[in-house]
Amino acid sequence: MAIRELSSLEKYLGLKKPNMYTTQGDKKVPVLQSNNFSPLVGLVTVACHLVKEAKRPDLLGDGAEGRAVVQQWLEYRVTKLDDCSKEDIRTILKELNAYLEDKVYFAGHQITLADIFMYYGTHSLIVDMSIQEREQFVNVTRWFDHVQHVRGLRHHLSLVSVLRNRIYTSRHH
């Protein structure tokens, strides 16, 4: 899974030569072997490396504060989102929905690595949600729909159809 995400990221970044990855341990942590330096371990580490290689420092956030926020959400992705149990999903969605209420992207006014990996990480959750649930977590759904349409980002993932109108406005049922 992580490897596919990294190769999707490579394509999005426009890196010409695809890297080869291996995995390590039960959790299949991705590892990038390279001739020029010692192996890089972990999704976030490798991703940050790729971003630097593609000379897209903007994806790591604007200013010290922005960079910290991006790092914070990348960590959220690999610690909270990837390890969440079925019972936690609603709590997480509620949390994200509240956070995204007044935001277009996770950090600042432009897309960052945080959006990309949160998108990859939430895709399976969003696919499984009913239309009513998608409407309940409307801010998450709006952000998700926005990111999935960013040019060149989707690659290995299916397009989720999202209704533009609210259909569960009244109370009954």
Binding site: I131, V160, S161, V162, L163, I167, S170, R171, H172, H173
Partner: protein, 532 residues
């Protein structure tokens, strides 16, 4: 040995001690009893003296059982008629004691009659004695009383009662029927809206308790309103169809063969053979069409032996069935049915606003919306709408319940209506007597009607040609012998016809935006409930 002896001794001692204790206890109890007796005697004496003193003793009491001893020429005024127009009049009312609250020399009662209630007051004065107030305060909840009282205008509106502008000053009060002091459920708990009880830490009554004690539950304002509205639905249904030239028919419910597939019918023993309970009056209303009745309808019980415990299934419900001959196109039938439904919705909206509001207080919902003429969608359009919303389904697949509900939402959003017709169902998912679509044999001239995204009516143009009917029955692998009489009725000239059947309980439930069909069935029957 020694040990045992010692033990024996202690036991004896213990016994002695115990018997001493018991003796003391007995003595005490005897004293107590004596005291009690004394007290009782005193009380009785008191009562006697007070009874003698009581100047108002003819003005209250428990009446002898009413066995039609005499025909009193006394007018009983209805609680709902107690308005300011009746102010200062002395009149008689028969009602239930909803609540009573004694406060010193006064006793406040709330008297209830059906969904109306009024505040009443017994106060010590020249009309009522202390004993009378005490008596009034001790009347058990839900007892039926006759009161003679003066209607008085009140300065401040009584918010908790339906008659807010007046109260009754009781001069006489007689208990006609006494209720047992312990009620299986409290009426106030049974009408409390869902969320509200939790906040205040008050009780709500769950549905099974309500249904187990249905007689009491039916007294609540909500139940009263629901079933008055239900009666209205039947009335409007009859009136509208009669005006359209329909004839009401009565059909047998004990039948010899299952009408719609054999799986979900109740079998009853019928002398030396067995019979079935009718799943719908389908066959009979069609036979009436063949017998030149032209347009018929039928209101009566319908039985389904489906073992499904859902919010919208009952094993016995009231079916409102329509069947009519048409001239050239079955849409004439659809128009006739939808117009009937619209007349019902309009009638409810115009004449049952009080009932709707009453139910809404406990179960809030949005007002029911409909269009005129009624929206008609074709099945393929519906599938396209669902696909657009991300639902994956096949062209000839039937709608699942979640998809039905979702479609209802999509339709409401797009057309702003809670009522619509879905036309041209795939032939494969309909019964054998459904007429195929002449333009596309995969589809059929059949339709469902939906209220708030749930199906209330299933109908179709029926096959009126014996040959085609035989062919379709064979296709569905139905034993031709068993339905011979049915097929034969089309051999001697049968007009083209169509119809449909509506579930009364579902219509009421969905019109009011309720969540469970048992709320709109007076004595519901489901796989787990046969009583009351």
């Amino acid at each position: 040995m020694i040990k045992e002896e010692v033990q024996g001794a202690t036991e004896e001692e213990q016994q002695q001690a115990q018997s001493k204790k018991a003796l003391k206890k007995q003595q005490k109890e005897a004293e107590k009893a004596a005291k009690k007796a004394e007290k009782q005697a005193k009380q009785a004496a008191d009562q006697q003296t007070t009874e003698e003193d009581d100047f108002a003793k003819d003005r209250y009491g428990v009446s002898a059982m009413l066995q039609s001893q005499q025909k009193l020429n006394r007018a009983l005024v209805k609680v709902q008629d107690l308005t300011v127009e009746k102010a200062d009049q002395l009149l008689w009312v028969r009602a239930r004691v909803h609540t009573s609250r004694a406060k010193g020399k006064q006793c406040f009662l709330v008297l209830r009659q059906q969904q109306f209630n009024v505040q009443a007051l017994v106060a010590v004065g020249d009309r009522a004695s202390k004993q009378m107030v005490k008596f009034a305060a001790n009347i058990t909840k839900e007892s039926i009383v006759d009161v003679e009282a003066v209607v008085r205008r009140v300065e401040q509106k009584i918010e908790s009662c339906s008659q807010q502008d007046v109260e009754l000053h009781i001069e006489r009060i007689f208990v006609i029927s006494q209720a047992e002091p312990r009620l299986p459920l409290q009426l106030d708990d049974a009408v409390r809206p869902d969320g509200e009880g939790e906040e205040e830490g008050r009780a709500t009554v769950n549905q099974d308790t309500r249904l187990d004690n249905r007689v009491i539950d039916l007294r609540t304002t909500t139940s009263q309103a629901v079933f008055r509205l239900q009666s209205g639905v039947c009335q409007l249904f009859r009136d509208t169809l009669t005006k359209k030239g329909f004839v009401e028919i009565q059909t047998p419910k004990i039948i010899s063969a299952a009408s719609e597939g054999g799986a979900n019918v109740f079998t009853v023993s019928y002398f030396k053979t067995s019979a079935y309970l009718a799943q719908s009056p389908q066959l009979y209303k069609q036979m009436c069409i063949c017998a030149d009745f032209d347009k018929v309808f039928c209101v009566g019980p319908v039985f389904r032996a489906e073992d499904s415990n859902t919010h919208r299934h009952l094993t016995e419900f009231v079916g409102l069935d329509i069947e009519m001959a048409f001239n050239y196109h079955y849409h004439e039938v659809i128009e006739s049915i939808t117009d009937t439904m619209v007349q019902i919705f309009k009638g409810l909206r115009d004449n049952f606003q009080t009932e709707i509001q009453t139910v809404n207080k406990q179960f809030p919902s949005e007002p029911f919306k409909f269009l005129e003429p009624t929206l008609r969608l074709e099945f393929q359009e519906a599938v396209a709408m669902l696909r657009e919303a991300g639902v994956e389904m096949g062209d000839e697949e039937d709608l699942s319940t979640p998809n039905e509900k979702l479609l209802g939402r999509l339709v409401k959003e797009k057309y702003d209506t809670d009522f619509y017709v879905l036309d041209k169902y795939p032939l494969a998912v309909r019964p054998f007597y459904t007429m195929p679509d002449p333009n596309n044999p995969k589809y059929s001239n059949s339709y469902d009607m939906f209220m708030r995204g749930e199906e209330i009516l299933s109908g179709a143009q029926r096959i009126h040609d014996a040959e085609l009917l035989t062919e379709r029955a064979k296709h569905h692998q139905i034993d031709l012998e068993k339905i011979k009489a049915y097929i034969d009725s089309f051999r001697y000239g049968a007009p083209p016809h169509g119809g449909g059947g509506i579930g009364l309980e579902r219509v009421c439930m969905l019109y009011l935006g309720l969540h469970n069909v048992r709320q709109t069935s007076m004595f519901p029957r489901d796989p787990k409930r046969l009583t009351p």
